[in-house]
Symmetry: C2
């Protein structure tokens, strides 16, 4: 695999030409100064860090993995040093308000920097990534005292953080949660229980780790309504605010995983560990939701990450490797074979990956603008942005990770047998990508969120407003994209209505249609952004015959010709309804399992 | 993951009820005695071996992998002992003619036994699997002397074999082949070159390894027409026919792979090794084709293998694990959550896997019958069978491995985050499955074989005869399946004709449509077998309300409702033609690769 190269040309296109970030930032309160030059400078530095510091650790991290001992967890060679450079560069505080010691850049700048880091090294990026989750939780729900005690060191990166939700008996469904938190006389709590799948739970990068822990206080209601949120530091801060007494929280073991080996996925044991309540008792899950939406977008970005890595690898190989002859006749008569790229199916594979990676980037950065608006916009901007985020987050998480995984697999396929060999890096990309459709809510869970909580919640009003927005965009779109998109928009609405009606009499109809509807919706959003990008690139080509714009048009054309047809399959599958899923009873399945 | 359980109930259904193997064997010359009782006894023993001996080594093989040293390659703990039991059980000679020391059972019995072995342990099964390739090559193209010297020990399993085709610079396209074979005065050749990706190339299971090697003799024409086939034994047999002098062939290193860690994938160095010509000089590739078709079916079977493993794992988990509540209301009020199986999308995932695993088994065993006919049938049977094999082999290889990989990934998905953890075994299934769409010709290569060499070769006549055969079967099929299948059969023919016509003016149209057409064809074949199975199961249900038959009907209904719609996407994509793949030139792609 070639060395990772930050796709700055496409970031430039998406931010400066497609979504006009200059105008966007000027419309926000406190982001006016973030102009193209400043953005370019930051992204240039981030690219350098990603390319030179952490991309070379991608394979090291995979091969070495993390090592557990009684004393703690050792990260792979170089991880710790890279983290040191990262915090020295001030990256951990990029989008954090100044009051907490950050640089107060808009959230979207954090998205962009994260994209590059996630592409260069998924496993490594999860260390600062989890800290961000902890930090956001404290910023949103911590007391002033808690914020003062913990945020400066978290923002500087001197300390790191985790999110401790899952337990052996419960993953997506937290109602089974058993970890206990018993109040102590000093106002703190004594936290006892076992958490699993804790990313970055224990490591050697920072001298303190702050765990955000879901637990139950005595007498808490059963189920989701009895869950509270606690902060459990590995070392309890002393009076000087430094890491002091060792707390009773330990990493019991590391999980052996398919990928992201460089990240320590820990079993964490809390043995009466001192914890501090965040927010109110029994309102923990609600507090978590703030964080979860951000985490879902972060995971969506991993779909983009793995598609971009696949694109860079597959393209480099296809223009270099020789095999077979073009169907239309010999292209390289002086060589015993032509390049892979002459084969239509190889082109199809590469354009498929490209249509995802660049489509996802455009989609993600639009969401990044919405995130900015929710923080810095006026009331109307805020409301519109929140609505768009609510609707599009499950689509982004589900669709981008599913197609990111597909792209990663295509990356392997382009390499033929070599794709299966570790040294080429393409198989690692698949293994690392595989987690993204699972964690932060599986695709199935996203699809129920989309249909149940978003599309159907208000009788389709919010969904209808989004469809109308896309329809409005088609008015200025090149006809090659506008015409099919308009036809499909109508169909999208009809499918939503159909499911809503069917769901009224039988809720299982919603569950039966949900993943098909999510994927259909993803292809629609991608069509929208490709329609916009293709139209824009066509205009640019009139001034400048740049291969970059020609590739945009070609990929847009390809997307509408070869990828959009997938909506046909999802449509017919949706319309087939739930009946064929309900022919067997639960106990039939049980009987089949032991047949 | 639960222990592997040989799916004997479904094998019974497919062999005794669906394809009527009694009648089939009675129609063949020399297979009359293989009745249901004998088959059952053999499969029972094979199931025992698969379940008890090699399935427990699946994870061991993955975790330990193979170890290289100057002295040779050590296989994982238990692999060698299992192989000893395997040859003591006589399994290596099951389908080999008596004249070569075998048990002369029909080829199809070998397919059935291989299915169970491949499901229990893909990596382990490749050791006897590669020997079979070597054996078939010697049986088809070796001289009487060669057969006498090598076959008895190969058939008994005392010696093993490999196929050495690939070199660093050439995989699918063997025209680049560089390995040299220079004639020596004693009629043997001196073979020099490097081969890569040699499965089972070196190991500690047998005391001799016979390499079938592609190489060029001096003055051989360039390209594919200058390739000859050689037998290069690791130890040259002495006068007593035992392993004698050590030959100059060595394993230089082992590949580090995504999966099938238990199989030694070797770089093999031939340093003037003594080799013996098989067949005629420069006709090596033609000889290889005999073997390749068999190998492709063997790989197709791996699609079935991984789907079956996914099915067993996912189903066991879905009826056990609790998460969330049914959309239609609480199912297990005494528990904090319902079983996963209550969720429609979980059912959809499981039925998707089931529709592939059982569909593939039915398809594969139909091909196994054709393989029998090519060996033991009369002239007409032979001709019909060869035609069907020729058309269906690329579909089986491409479609079954692609959907096998999809099934393996769904297996992970059903487990949520646990699917990513090694101990559950589902992620290993994905890693092991990943090779199947790559080796023995990628899906892209299968698709060009299907369209170029099969469907379009005779103006569609052979393809048309197969479509007519399926159409005839719809006459006695339950209308629920017959009606959609008949409609689609017409469309299938139209698509083939359309591609043929487009391809005449632009051959790239064939390459652009090929993978879509292959997948479309796979879904059609699967629809055909599910139509037959669903119809048969409905009839059985009238006598006997067996959950097995109810599951057959439910899965058939599901397949037609939820999986067949995928043909819509492939159809529209085919009809979009090659244009959108040709918008960029080869040099545009080169420019994009370094942008």
């Amino acid at each position: 695999m070639p060395d990772y190269k930050a796709p700055l040309r496409d970031l430039d296109f998406v931010t400066n030409e497609l979504w006009n970030f200059d105008e966007h930032y000027q419309s926000l309160n406190g982001a006016e100064e973030v102009d193209a030059e400043l953005r370019g400078a930051i992204l240039g530095e981030a690219a350098k860090f990603a390319e030179q510091v952490i991309a070379p650790l991608r394979r090291v991290g995979d091969e070495e993995g993390c090592t557990w001992s009684e004393e703690g967890v050792t990260t792979p060679t170089g991880f710790k040093e890279a983290y040191k450079q990262y915090i020295e560069g001030g990256w951990t505080g990029l989008s954090v308000p100044e009051e907490f010691g950050g640089q107060a850049l808009p959230a979207s700048m954090g998205f962009m920097v994260s994209e590059l880091m996630g592409e260069a090294n998924h496993a490594w990026t999860m260390y600062p990534g989890l800290s961000a989750g902890c930090r956001e939780t404290l910023m949103a729900h911590g007391t002033a005292d808690q914020q003062q005690s913990y945020l400066p060191k978290l923002v500087s990166g001197e300390w790191s953080g985790t999110m401790c939700l899952t337990e052996p008996q419960c993953g997506s469904d937290l109602s089974f949660l058993r970890t206990k938190a018993e109040p102590d006389s000093d106002g703190s709590y004594s936290v006892t229980g076992t958490k699993i799948f804790i990313s970055s739970g224990e490591h050697d990068m920072t001298n303190n780790i702050l765990h955000i822990v879901l637990a139950r206080v005595p007498g808490a209601p059963a189920g989701n309504k009895g869950i509270s949120l606690f902060l459990v530091p590995k070392f309890i801060p002393n009076e000087q605010g430094e890491a002091g007494e060792r707390n009773a929280v330990n990493c019991g073991s590391l999980e052996h995983k398919m990928g992201i080996h460089g990240n320590a996925t820990c079993v964490m044991n809390f043995d009466g560990a001192k914890g501090y309540l965040i927010g109110k008792e029994n309102e923990g899950l609600m507090c978590m939701f703030t964080f979860m939406n951000g985490a879902r977008l972060g995971t969506a970005a991993q779909g983009l990450n793995h598609a971009e890595v696949a694109l860079q690898g597959a393209l480099a190989y296809a223009v270099e490797r020789e095999a077979g002859r073009a169907l239309t006749g010999v292209k390289s008569p002086d060589r015993p074979a032509d390049k892979l790229i002459v084969h239509p199916d190889v082109r199809k594979m590469i354009l498929t990956i490209r249509s995802f990676s660049e489509g996802h980037r455009a989609f993600l950065y639009l969401l990044a603008q919405q995130a900015d608006k929710t923080h810095l916009g006026n009331e109307q901007q805020k409301q519109e942005a929140e609505e768009m985020m609510a609707l599009l987050t499950p689509i982004a998480k589900g669709f981008m990770t599913e197609t990111g995984l597909e792209a990663a697999n295509i990356g392997v396929q382009v390499y033929g047998g070599h794709g299966f060999i570790r040294e080429w890096g393409m198989e690692q990309n698949v293994r690392d990508a595989r987690i993204s459709t699972l964690y932060e809510g599986t695709t199935g869970i996203q699809s129920l969120d989309l249909l149940g909580r978003k599309v159907m919640k208000d009788g389709g009003a919010m969904f209808g407003r989004f469809v109308a927005k896309v329809a409005a965009d088609t008015q200025t779109m090149d006809l090659a994209y506008a015409a099919p998109l308009q036809r499909k928009l109508k169909e999208w609405g009809e499918l939503a209505t159909w499911i809503g009606q069917k769901g009224t009499s039988n809720p299982d109809e919603v569950g039966a249609a949900s993943v098909d509807f999510l994927m259909y919706s993803g292809y629609m959003v991608n069509a929208w952004v490709w329609g916009l990008m293709g139209t824009l690139a066509k205009a640019k080509l009139e001034e400048n015959d740049d291969v970059f714009y020609r590739a945009k048009v070609a990929t847009a054309d390809f997307y509408f010709s070869k990828i959009m047809p997938r909506t046909e399959a999802h449509k017919v599958s949706i319309e087939a309804g739930a009946e064929s899923l309900l022919g067997l009873s639960d106990s039939d399945f049980e009987a089949l399992a032991v047949l």
